[in-house]
Subunit: 346 residues, 4 copies
C-alpha cells in the first residue's frame, strides 16, 4: 500500500527485459548507440516532428534544468506556478543551470490562467536594465496537484507567451498520464499548442531513470549537448538509457502504464469517497489530494500504508480532518487499493 | 575488437541480475532504499572507515565535479595534472560545480611529482586577495595515460598537500584497476595515504552507470547531499544505483573484473610488442599508448578494430608510425585480442 | 524640479572637497590607504562595534549582492519583501553573487510582518534535500515604498530570524534617512536589534558612489574580501572611496543631509496635500507615493518636473487620478518644491 | 619614490576639475547623462568606429570580466598568456562572469606568438562535446611584463583567432602607453588589426576609477548592459564616470599622460643601467623588470622607495642580484627618479 509517490515503484518488465537484451558486446558511448537512433525516430514519429532534437537524461530535474538553462539567459526570469516542481522541489537546480536566473511565481493555484500569466509577465521586464528580463514560461502537465490542463488551456497559455515572444517549456514528468486523460496526440499537447521544449518523463511511469528532452526547433541542439555534458548528465554507457526509453515507447507500453496508473487513482478516489473523504478536485490523472479524519490516517498508518500527510500529525483529535496526497503508479494493484480504502473506512 | 574505451562494454552479469532482483515492489526513493544501507556498510568496511559518508551518482563527471564542488570555494584553484580528466574531458563541469573556481595544471606528464606540485602550489596563493586561493589537489589513479601511482608516490603528493593544509581528491574512475595492480587495501590507497575524498568508479569496470563518492570526514556530508540534488544528480529510483554497486562489491566481483581487464591489457601489449609496437610506458593497468606503423592501423581499421588514433590519419606513408590509445575492459576476450594482434602484425 | 530619485543629485560639497584633498602623491591601493583606517575607526565608533569588519564598494547593488553572497549558500533561499530592491531592481545580481540561490517573497506590502515572515520561513526548508534551504532574512530600511520600520518592528523580524538561526541583512541604501526619522543610534537600528550585516548607503545621500558593508561578526571578513575582488569590486585607487565616506561621516554631515532630504519630502507632502493629492502613507523619510489628477501631471510635465508616473500615461481624461513616486535628496530646494506644488495645484 | 604600481598615483588635475564641474544640479542616472553622450562621441571618433557600443565601468577587472562574459559561453575556454592579468590577478573574476568558462594558457612568455597560439587552439576543441569549446583570444597590450606588441604581431595573433572564427579581446589597461609607443591610431591597434572588444583603461593613466568597454560590433550591446547591471557595475551617479573619461580624452590629455609615464620609465631605466642594473628587456612603455644587487635594494628600501621585489628578501648577501618590478605613472617626477637612481648606485 504505497501511495507516496510514483517514483518508488518497480520498473516495467518490458523495460527490464530491454536492458538485459541491450547488454551484449560493445556499443558506441555517449549517445551514439544504435538504440538511440531508434528512440529518436520513435519520438519524432510520435510527435510528428521529423526535425526535433531529442536527448536523454536520467532525472526529471536534469531534464527541466538543462532545458530551461538552454533557453534562458542568466538575467531572465521564468514564469511558473507557485507549486511548480522547479520552484519547490529542485533545490535551486534550475537557478544553478540557468546561471542565476530567477523564477517568477504566477499568482494562483497549480494551474496558471492566461490572465494571471499576463499580469505576471507585465509585472516584469518593464524596468529596463534594472529588473530581470522576461524569460520562458514553464508549464507542468500533469500539474503538481494532479490537474490536467485541457488543450484549450494549454493553447491559451502558449498564446500569451507567444504574444510576448517568450518560449514555452513543458514539464512533462507525467506526460503520459495527461495524454491518456486528454485523449489527444503528443503533437497536439505540445508544439501544436505552442510548446517549444518538452521534458518527457519516463521514470515516474515505469522506467528506471530516463527522461527525454525534446526541442521542436533544433537550433539549440548543440548548445544543449554541451550543457548536458557540462552538467555531468551525459552517460557513457548511454545504451542503457536508450534501451529503457525504447522499450517504454514500444507497442504503446507507455500509454498502457499511464492508463493503469490513472485507473488506479480513480478506483482509489471512488473508494475513499464512499469512506467520506473530501477532495481538492476530481481525479484527472494519477494524483489526488484528499482529506480524511485523523482516525482514518491512524488506521492506515498502523496498517502499513505509505503516503504523505500534508498538515498535522497522527497525534490528536480522532475526528479532525487532515489532508494528504495520494499517488498511484502503474503497478498499483486493486487489492492494495481496496485494502487502503477498507482501512480508511475503518 | 573494441579497444576504444572501457566505457562501452557490457555490464557484468551479476550487476544485471541484481537490477532484476531489485525490481520488485516499492522502495523508498532518493537513497533511502535498504540496498543503499548495504552499500554503505560494504564501502565502510572495505575502506576501514566506519564514519565515512557514502553517496552514489551515475557518472564519473558528476562524482568528480560534486566532490570538488563540495571542498572548493569559488575563489580557489585546484591543482591537477595537465591531462587530468577534470581538465580535458569534462567540458568545464568542475568549474561549473565549483562556481567558477580554476584548475592549475601542474607541469609535467600524467603523474604529478611532489616537486612539481610544490612549485605549482607555491606559484599560487601568494598574491593576497588578487590571485586565486590554494584549493584541493586532485589526483587521478589510474592516470589518464594508464600509469599507476605507487603508494609512496601517493603519500608524497598527499604530504605536500597536507603541508599546505589542502584537501586531496582522488579521481578513481579506474580505482579497482589500480588497486589490483598495487595489491594493497582500499584504505592504504586512500585515507591512509592522505586522501580526503574519493570518486570510486563502477561504470568503467562493469556497472551500468554508478560511481560512489566517499568522504572520510563526514563533516561535509549534508552539503554534498544538497549539492547533489541541486546538480540534478539525486535519483528517485535510487535502488537501481544501489543494486549495481552492491552486486559490484559482492564476492570481490569488482576486483575480479579489474584483474580481467588488466590481464587483457597485458596480453595485448605483449602481442603488440612482438608485432613491433613501441609504448609510452609499460602496461600497469588497462590502458596503453602504443605506436604502430600506418599500415598496421590500416589493416586494423579494415578488420573492424575500434580504438583512438591520437595523431595523423589513415591516409599516408604506410611505414610512418602513428600513436594510438588502447583500452581493455573486463569483457575483452583473448580471441579478440589475438585477432587484433594478428592484424597489427599483418 | 527633479524628484525622480535620490541617485541623481549632486555630491555634497564636503565630499568633493575631500576628494580634491586626497588627490596628492601616492597612496597604498586596494583598501590599504590611510583614509580607510579613519573610515573603519569612524564606523566602528558610530556603531559601537569595535570588532566590526568594514568594507567599501561603489554601488548599492554590489553592497547587497556581496553581503548576501557571503552569508548565503547556493542551495538557500533569502526571505525578503516582494518589493525589495534585491528582487525588483538588481537584474538578478543577488542570484548571480549567491551562485543561484533563490529569493522567497514574504507575502504583504513593503514592510514584512513577523507573522508573514514566519509563514514564509515555515513554507521553506521542510522538504529535506528537495527544496531550497532557509537562508538569510533581508530587510530594507527605509523601505522601497518610503516606510521606516520602528525599532520594535525591526527587533521582532530579527527575533523571528534568530528563532530559526538565520542571519539578518539590512539593505540600508537610505540608512541615514531612517536613522534621523527614528532618532536612535546606529547600533540600536542594527546589531542591538539583531542585524548581522549592513549595506550602509552613501551614494543616495550625497556621496559620489560609495557604500559600506559592515559585518558585526568579522568571521566572514576574509571571504568577503575575496568575493569583492572576484566580483571586480575592489578599487585600486581606493582612497577615493575612503575619502568620500570619511567626509560623509565627519561632523554629522551624513545626518544633516538626511534631515534635509526628509524635511524636503515633508514640505512637498504638505504642499501636495493642500493641492488635493492622496498618499499611500504619511511621509516617514524622503520618498512618498502620491496620487494626483492627470491634469496636474500634465502641468508638472510641461513645467519640467521629473518623476516617475507609476501607472497610466499623460494622455487621457484630465480628472483621472494617477499614482506617482516622488523622492527628495539632500539638495532639493524649497524653491523647487514650492514651484512643483504650485504646478500641481494649477 | 613610489614605483610599485601605476594604480596608486594621484588623479590628473583636469580629471579632478571635471568632477567638480560636473557636480551641479541633477543629471539622468545610469549612463543617460549628457556627458556620456560626449564620451561616446569622442571614443567613436578616436576609434573611427561610428557604430561602436561604448560603456563605462569603474575597475579594470570589471571591464575584462564583463567583456569576456559577453562573448564567451560557459562551456568555452579563453586563450591567453600565462602571465595575463585575467589569469593571475583577478581572483577568478573572469571565470565567475563567464559562468565557469576556463582559461587556456598559451605556452611561452608574456607575449603570445602566433605559433604558440595556434598550437594552443589546436589542443582544444577537438574532443567534441567532452572538452571545452574554443572561445575568445585575450591579448594584453601593454603586456604584464611591460612589452608592447607591434602592429604586425597584433595582426598575426588576430589572424590566427579569425582563422578559427574566434573573437579577440584586448585588455588595454595601459592602452595609451602602448599607443604612444607604437605611434599608431587607436583604430590601427584595435579593429583594423582584428580586435573585437577592448577594455580601454583610464584608471592607471590618471583617472580616479574608470575604464571603457568598446564593442566594435554593437550586436551584443544590450546583453552587455544587462550583464553590467547584473554584475552590480552600473553606476547610478554615472556622470562622475563620464566626467573622468571625458576630461581624460580631451585635448589629448590621455596621450600626454602616457608619454609622461613612458618617458619617466625610460629615464629610470637609463639611470639604472648606469648603476649596473640588468633588465628583462628594453623599456617599451612604463614598466620594467630590473635586477639589482641586494645592497642596492637595501639602500632603496631604507631611502623610502616603494616597489615590488619579485624574489628573495632584503636579508642576505649584499652582492646577490635580486629581480624587481618598477612602474612609472604620469606623476613620476624627475627628482624622484634621480633620487631612486642615486640610491641604487650607492
Amino acid at each position: 500500500m504505497y501511495f507516496a509517490s510514483d517514483n518508488s515503484g518497480p520498473v516495467l518488465p518490458e523495460v527490464m527485459d530491454a536492458l538485459a537484451a541491450a547488454n551484449t558486446g560493445y556499443a558506441m558511448p555517449y549517445g551514439a548507440d544504435p538504440i538511440m537512433e531508434e528512440v529518436r525516430g520513435k519520438i519524432r514519429a510520435l510527435f510528428e516532428a521529423p526535425e526535433a532534437a531529442v536527448y536523454l537524461v536520467a532525472t526529471g530535474t536534469a531534464a527541466n534544468s538543462l532545458a530551461l538553462g538552454t533557453i534562458t539567459q542568466p538575467f531572465d526570469t521564468v514564469f511558473c506556478s507557485p507549486v511548480a516542481h522547479i520552484e519547490e522541489d529542485e533545490c535551486n537546480a534550475p537557478e544553478f543551470f540557468m546561471g542565476g536566473a530567477k523564477l517568477t511565481l504566477v499568482a494562483g493555484g497549480d494551474k496558471m490562467t492566461p490572465e494571471a500569466l499576463t499580469r505576471s509577465i507585465e509585472s516584469q521586464g518593464n524596468r529596463g536594465v534594472h529588473g530581470p528580463q522576461r524569460g520562458p514560461v514553464s508549464i507542468t502537465q500533469v500539474t503538481e496537484r494532479g490537474s490536467v490542463y485541457t488543450l484549450d488551456e494549454l493553447r491559451a497559455l502558449c498564446a500569451v507567451a507567444k504574444s510576448y515572444k517568450l518560449p514555452v517549456h513543458l514539464d512533462g514528468a507525467r506526460f503520459a498520464n495527461a495524454l491518456v486523460k486528454l485523449g489527444c496526440t503528443p503533437a497536439e499537447m505540445t508544439w501544436k499548442a505552442g510548446v517549444d521544449v518538452v521534458s518527457f518523463g519516463g521514470t515516474k511511469n515505469g522506467c528506471m531513470g530516463v527522461e527525454a528532452v525534446i526541442f521542436f526547433d533544433p537550433a539549440k541542439a548543440w548548445e544543449f549537448e554541451l550543457r548536458r555534458k557540462r552538467g555531468a548528465h551525459l552517460f557513457s554507457k548511454h545504451r542503457y538509457l536508450s534501451a529503457q526509453m525504447n522499450a517504454y515507447l514500444t507497442d504503446g507500453r507507455w500509454l498502457d502504464a499511464a492508463r493503469q496508473a490513472n485507473a488506479a487513482c480513480l478506483r482509489l478516489t471512488k473508494g475513499l469517497e464512499a469512506a467520506g473523504a473530501e477532495f481538492l478536485h476530481a481525479p484527472e490523472a494519477n494524483i489526488i489530494f484528499a482529506t480524511l479524519p485523523r482516525a482514518a490516517h491512524q488506521r492506515l498508518h498502523e496498517g502499513g500504508a505509505a503516503y504523505y500527510l500534508l498538515e498535522g500529525t497522527l497525534d490528536g483529535a480522532p475526528d479532525e480532518h487532515l489532508p494528504c496526497r495520494l499517488v498511484c503508479d502503474w503497478s498499483a494493484t486493486d487489492e492494495n487499493i481496496d485494502r487502503f480504502v477498507a482501512l480508511a473506512k475503518g
